[in-house]
């Protein structure tokens, strides 16, 4: 079966460059075809990249606390651009300060994200969720 394709990047004016590279390697090792847009990615860039690469999912990272503002409207823009039903994940320090995570998750899910991950989430957690959502079996042994 063809590899599932992911577009990843750090949204908004966020310049945290290290984590996104770690995620790229983790996703690639887990069997995904990854297009890494790097840092300071706008909503339009995620969408253009997803159209051109025929992506199955967009993984949004945010570490500087402004994720809630940056992510607003992304699902609607995806719908508008013909990416209806594309898998949308968000993760990192996505809100300002320390807030109860279940409330944060609720707000981002209301924005149209399929999965929401809080600070300190291990890549394995996200990868497990990807396998589940794409309905693919996790490989028995790592390469």
């Amino acid at each position: 079966m063809d590899k599932k394709k992911l577009v990843i990047g750090v949204i908004g004016a966020d310049v945290h460059a290290v984590g996104i590279s770690i995620l790229q390697h983790a996703f690639e090792d887990a069997g995904f075809d990854v297009t890494n847009l790097g840092v300071m990615v706008s909503q339009e860039e995620y969408i253009s990249a997803a159209i051109e690469t025929g992506a199955d999912g967009i993984m949004v990272s945010s570490l500087y606390g402004h994720g809630e503002l940056d992510c607003r409207g992304l699902r609607e823009k995806c719908d508008e651009a013909g990416l209806k039903g594309i898998l949308l994940y968000v993760g990192g320090n996505i809100v300002v300060g320390k807030q109860p995570f279940d409330e944060v998750e609720k707000r981002f899910k209301a924005m149209g994200f399929d999965r929401v991950f809080g600070p300190g989430t291990a890549p394995e957690t996200t990868i497990a969720a990807l396998y589940e959502d794409f309905g693919i079996e996790a490989p028995k042994t790592a390469e």
């Binding site: 966020d14 310049v15 075809d33 297009t35 300071m40 051109e52 025929g54 606390g65 402004h66």
Partner: protein
Amino acid sequence: MKPILLVDFGSTNTKVTAVDVENCEVLGTAAAYTTVETDINNGLREAVSNLEKITGHIEYEERYACSSAAGGLKMISIGLVPELTAQASREASLGAGAKVWKTYSFNLTKGDMREIEEYHPDIILLTGGTDGGNSECILYNAQMLSSLSYDCPIVIAGNRCAAEECQEILGERTTYLCENVMPRLGELNVEPTQKQIREIFLKRIVQGKGLSEASDLVSGIIMPTPSAMLTAMELLSDGWEEIPGIGELVGVDLGGATTDIYSIAEGSPANMGTVMKGIQEPYAKRSVEGDIGMRYSVHGILEAVGDRRLSKISGINRQKIKELVDYLGDHTDYIPDNEEMEKMDYALACAAVETAVARHAGSLEQVYTPCGLTYLQSGKDLRRVKYVVVTGGALIHAKHTEEIAKFALYDESTPGSLRPENAEILVDRKYILAAMGLLSQHYPAAALEIMKKEIAYYGHKE
């Protein structure tokens, strides 16, 4: 002595350059007025006879020609997302020396097909999708193109997983498969496509435009003129084998209808902290400003910079500017015969150079983030480029060529525009660049040596 004749068939002029490749010298240059309607051999014969007035009769050992006559190499480019594969497709066509009439994105409509049919391009470049990426769009567009009424060569250079299927859809039509112009997101791969376009030009286009009639006089039309230009600039910049070039450069070719800008430069960010945006741009890049030219497109200059700017450079009052621009647009063969018109032409040339180079060069934007100040760069950073080479009749015959060319340089009032900061201005006085691009196909070392002598004045200072 080994004399070679180089011919440039233009839409209004046939230019000839005689060189001696043994001594690396220009023997003479001349031009004659031509039109597409008349037999191009007439223009060539006249130009050669003008040349012989300077050089005396010469028995040429070889003759080569390039052409931009009959509208040049007419192409349309098709991609998926405007700023991604459609842009890559456009860059590929421009770099091959084509006149890109229009670039289409997403699915072609019936209206688009009517437009294409009417424009009647020489070659269509069909792209879309990264390798393994979107294939629906390119397949759909191949289907649309299969209804074209004539057999226009179609170069397929999109998602490799869909390319063969596109070829099947297009069936009996003339198609060529190439590597994807954008194999991975943001990554440009234009050379294989450009090579293919040049081959098609050689095999098919030249015959179709009545240019083969010139074949008794020349050994063959081997490239489109803009492609010869780009080749010459690349050679002058990079050198040939052990002979060094002059290094990174920007080329400005100001014409009556369009302005072409070339850059042979990496253009990577100057600082570590700069974040790159948009697609990677080609090392040898050509851009064409169809709305910027000294006569046919003179209104485009006024629109781009405004009457205030033109008034400031020329000293002519704003009310008068519009009137003079209208006059120039209506009298496309006018050559200034009074002081006011000279000033007007000077200001227009300055504004044209400034606008065209600013559009070609990249830009740098300051962004204040919660993590501090960051820079976003899109396009090429040309600030460290050391030479600006100017060519084109409107510039090399102007009175103040150097002053006009300085408008290609970095300007403190627009610090975000990444134009050359401290570049030396080199002038292609004898208008030989295209000829040298042609010559370089067979005699690269001689072409380089001649360009250094004639344009860069290496070892030639008196």
